[in-house]
Amino acid sequence: MRKIIRIIFFQLFIRPLLVFFVGVRVSGRENIPLNGSFIIAANHSSHLDTLVLMNLLPVKQLNRIRPVAAADYFMRNPIIYFLSCLFFNIIPIERIKISRGNNPLEVLLAALNRGENLIMFPEGTRCKDLESGEFHSGIAHVAEQLPQVCVVPVYLANMNRALPKGEIFLVPFICEVHIGHPLWLKGTKEEKMKVLKDEILKLKGNAKW
């Protein structure tokens, strides 16, 4: 039932909103793997990011993609938590009080092993610009444990102008999505994150805005 609601919600509401109202332009759509596990890693500046990234995938994959979200933010209110699970199928992970019992890595590995794909924002929160934000190493940990999983770097442009942090009304700015080639990250944790960040910065160079 939830799966059907999610598909209807995206097809009837989110897709027309993004295509006709906001006007999202996508380049490199062919870089998203059709089969096999992957993690989409993007810069994060707006709540719009998750919608845009989920919308990139074909309908069949919609129920297999799980945005990784901060538990302290999305679970602060039961209604928000219920809606974000219903419509966006989030995986809440702990950012602050991490213990052996709620290890975020375990949750992510379990999801990937179930055949689900992840959306992750390595900046860990909504940042104004990509350069200043430090990348957190969650993706490197996952890649360490499951080397067969590839990481798709994505640069999202103009999202924070359309829907900035702390704003509830959307203003239609033309947004761009630049999708890079999938990466199989190698080396140490720091090397992995540096490769990923460099790839996203390279994609930023192609962005018009």
């Binding site: 332009r25 900035p164 704003e167 203003v171 239609p172 805005w209």
Partner: protein
């Protein structure tokens, strides 16, 4: 009686449509022939342009023919896309968010005045009420850094892409003129075809004979050969469209020449806006042309001027 009048005036739309289709068939043929010659590599951009013209012509004529509400809605959508492209390329501040939202909200309001034919409100809503309201909304955010620049940018966008474009919608609902077949609808066709023909003719004259640049810092493609060749040939070719209007030959030359000059300057002003924002064109919406704005830029100037000339002389 009304039915007959309507049929007759829509027969004008069909005639104009036939003329445009004829021109497009001819251009497609020329490009098809050129593609067989050694000039083939140069035809790619032209081909994209003509293909886009086909699509734009189909959309435009369908919007005009179906019913007046669709025509108004069509121009409303044009305003929406143009304003969106405009605010995307200019610099905006985080503090402008709500004021920008209001700029978009004034699109349905402005086109509602057109729909309800509230002429006075249509004329003053943006230049008076929104002009005063935008700075008011910006002041509530308490961000004085860049206040004046933000105010003017938003006001200019609303003026050019909502107020100005909505004149075409209002023209389309203007009644029949006296004993002629001409109506607001056919005048709208005259305005749009002459404006676009002027763009194309200036381009062709400039590419073929352009030597002396005018204002190269703003637009490197504008030459005085393009300007004179384009505006004069536009004025003469407009005589073929006289059947859409109540004009005498002299009047037709005069109004078409006004459109040509206004279109030229509209193009230049928008080129300066783009240059200020640091982009070459407004987007990739229309292959070969750039964005919606790249097609509307001349109309931003020609529409209000032609509309008020008609309002003064014929209504």
């Amino acid at each position: 009686m009304d039915k007959i009048a309507m049929l007759l005036s829509s027969s004008l739309v069909y005639q104009a449509g036939g003329l445009v289709v004829g021109i497009l068939v001819f251009s497609s043929l020329v490009i098809w022939i050129l593609a067989k010659t050694p000039l083939a590599p140069h035809t790619q951009e032209l081909k994209a342009r003509v293909q886009s013209w086909w699509i734009m012509a189909v959309f435009f004529f369908s919007a005009i023919l179906v019913n007046p509400k669709i025509t108004i809605g069509f121009f409303g959508l044009m305003s929406f896309w143009a304003l969106k492209e405009y605010i995307t390329i200019i610099d905006t501040r985080r503090a402008d968010h709500r004021a920008l939202l209001w700029a978009f909200l004034c699109i349905p309001i402005q086109y509602y005045w057109v729909l309800s034919k509230w002429y006075l409100m249509f004329l003053i809503f943006i230049p008076v009420y929104m002009f005063l309201f935008i700075p008011l909304r910006l002041v509530l955010v308490e961000e004085t850094q860049g206040f004046l620049a933000a105010t003017s940018k938003i006001q200019w966008g609303m003026w050019a892409f909502v107020f100005s474009i909505s004149h075409m919608a209002y023209l389309s609902v203007m009644p029949k003129i006296g004993a002629t077949l001409a109506s607001g609808q056919s005048l709208l066709l005259f305005l749009v075809i002459v404006t676009q023909a002027n763009d194309v003719l200036q381009f062709i004259w400039g590419k073929s004979f352009g030597r002396h640049k005018i204002l190269p810092k703003v637009s490197p493609n504008k030459t005085s050969e393009g300007f004179w060749g384009g505006t004069l040939s536009t004025a003469f070719l407009s005589l073929f469209l006289r059947f859409l209007t109540p004009f005498s030959v002299v009047e037709c030359l005069f109004f078409a020449y006004c459109i040509a000059i206004a279109g030229f300057f509209g193009d230049l002003v928008m080129a300066a806006v783009k240059r200020d924002a640091g982009v070459k064109d407004y987007g990739q919406m229309i292959p070969g042309h750039g964005g919606v704005l790249d097609r509307l830029n001349s109309l931003c100037y020609t529409a209000p001027i032609f509309f008020h000339q008609m309002a003064y002389f014929y209504y």
